[in-house]
Amino acid sequence: MNTTLKSLLNLLLVAAVSAALLWGADTVTRSVIAGQESDRIKADFAPILAAETYTALPTAGHESVTAAYRAEDRDGTLLGYAVTATVKGYGGPLTVYVALSPDGERFLGLRVGSHQETEGYGARVTEEAFYRQFDSLAAPASVGGYTGLEDNSSASSSGSGTSAANWKDGTYRAEENSYNQGYRSFVELTVRDGKITAVNWDADKEGADVTKKQESQAGHYVMTEDGLLWHQQAAAMEQALMEAQDPAKLIFNQDTGKTDAYAGVSVDVSAFVSLSAQALEKAAGTGDGLMDSAGSAGTVDAVSGATVSSKAVVKAANSAYTFVQALLKENR
């Protein structure tokens, strides 16, 4: 036989056998993994759902939601929805297993899975007393006015209306009472149709007719050799606020004022957040009310000493709620 032809047949044979072996091993492996996966899901949700079968639901496009299942009992009756949500906790990623009622309006319960919260503080969100608050709680949940929902208007549609709706059009300014290290921060907000449309975070320099932004742009205010300049960081925070539409939703460490939720931002952002909140209070024409806009949300008490972690759990629970709402709307 022709050598080339023989080589070709040889090659095809080897390729075919390899492909068959790979395909076979892949199939076997997938079924083994699927079996173990379903055991694991059952174990994860066992304390909050007594379901027999979990059917996976597509979660693409839902931030924070990493897995979701229809939970049914032995007879195929829908017991509810099981959702795994992973959010940013205080110490790192925080995974929460959330069970929602079939109509998606009530939490059946939740459990915190893997987390890196501080022992004795943030880690106390794994205590039974905190969990119990979510049993049969009306969704969405809120803790100290915080819901973590991206779009307040749709989340609490049945509620009393958010603070955003109370904002009157105009530009509002809030500034610090005194100079701090030579600068006095201020925030200017423009509201149009109930939305924040422009934000300016800057600081007046003591004894000079120039602002921090102008100095930074001119290259006179340099913090480190690398990294973003001050005016760039300020712009990043302004952008973040316009996206969040609520200073309470900006993520930062309450103790240090630092944040790692926004790329390149290394400065203390606490003044920005509080000044923005003050400016919005002016927009709402009230001195308070901004933080108490929970609407119909089921209120949860934060674990003391673990505000950030409690908020993270609530955010996870509410992403699960949002996911199920979207799912039900789609199926309706």
């Binding site: 080589s7 390899s18 492996t29 083994v32 993994i33 173990q36």
Partner: protein, 319 residues
């Protein structure tokens, strides 16, 4: 009549010289090099040029010193293989140093082509890994954003559906390791040219896959993610271009199989339990060192003598 392939002398001389074979290997490396240039741009061109030149100049210089031997394309092959086994962001001086090291100390110091104990390209990569690890961490994505290579992320559950980009090559990794497809094209060319036999790559990849499948899963035994592991890292380049290097592998049938399987198993073991994400380089070097022993154990047996795997054992002296 079935042709008889003799492994021991006498051999028929043909016009096919070492240079011809080395040119074939170079041609076979063209697709992978093109993929590297396509993915990494001018950096890849520079790296290829620097290592190849460094190897060629070193060989020329060594031959001058030794006053024997002739220039063949083997140094170029070592240079290209070295470039392809390095991350595109490797600093050029380190690459040049490694190239010179591979030819001067690994190849020529042992007596030139045909006498070296270790694969020059792998030895040079090993040197960089051990001595200048920082120079090697410049993994650049094709879109110039640096990130972890898929292999460092392959720990834990792996999405088996994302294998196609790994196969075609738009993934992070060393230059020539990214496009499995292009390496296979080169391998098939070598196979048709008669420069390699399929048994070595197949044994190597088979043994590797078996170990990964059995032990590499995060869901217990027999659940390892074989496909992503096969498609990532320098395994394919090693299986088709490194372990088939005539000089550093055993020449016997069983020797080749044990050698190839050893590389596959060691690579899998080093990947699963070793400190580095990749183990191909050290696996090949270790098996290179074992090659003379394997050859000794598996040499054609002399008629009338019994022994393990057909190897030679001294006769019992008659008293």
């Amino acid at each position: 009549m079935k042709p008889v392939l003799s492994q021991s002398a006498p051999h028929i001389r043909r016009g096919r010289t070492t240079t011809h074979i080395m040119l074939d290997v170079l041609i076979a490396l063209v697709p992978a090099s093109i993929a590297a240039v396509w993915n990494f741009g001018i950096r890849a061109v520079w790296l290829l040029a620097v290592t190849t030149l460094s190897c060629a100049i070193t060989q020329w210089f060594c031959l001058l010193l030794r006053r024997q031997g002739e220039f063949d394309a083997s140094a170029l092959v070592s240079g290209v293989l070295l470039a392809l086994s390095l991350p595109a962001g490797t600093s050029l001086w380190a690459a040049a140093l490694a190239g010179a090291f591979s030819i001067a100390l690994i190849k020529e110091a042992f007596g030139g082509i045909g006498h070296n104990l270790l694969n020059p390209a792998m030895a040079a990569r090993g040197l960089l890994l051990a001595a200048f690890p920082a120079a090697l961490t410049g993994y650049i994505r094709p879109d110039a954003v640096s990130s972890a290579t898929p292999l460092s992320a392959v720990d834990g559950p792996v999405n088996l559906d994302g294998w196609l980009p790994m196969f075609t090559g738009f993934e992070n990794g060393s230059m020539g390791e990214t496009s499995v497809l292009m390496i296979l094209v080169g391998g098939v060319y070598l196979y048709f040219k008669g420069a390699i036999r399929l048994r070595m790559p197949v044994t190597c990849l088979g043994a590797f896959s078996a170990v990964i499948w059995i032990f590499g899963g995060s869901y217990g035994w027999f659940t390892g993610p074989v496909v992503p592991h096969l498609l990532s890292g320098g395994l394919m380049l090693g299986a088709f271009f490194m372990i088939t290097d005539f000089t550093t592998k055993p020449t016997t049938f069983w020797g080749e199989l044990v050698f190839a399987a050893g590389v596959g198993i060691l690579t899998a073991v080093l990947r699963l339990w070793g400190p580095y994400p990749e183990g191909v380089c050290f696996a090949i070097l270790l098996m290179n060192l074992a090659a003379p022993l394997l050859e000794y154990l598996t040499r054609a047996r002399v008629y009338g003598m019994k022994n393990l795997l057909g190897g030679i054992r001294p006769l019992k002296r008659a008293h």
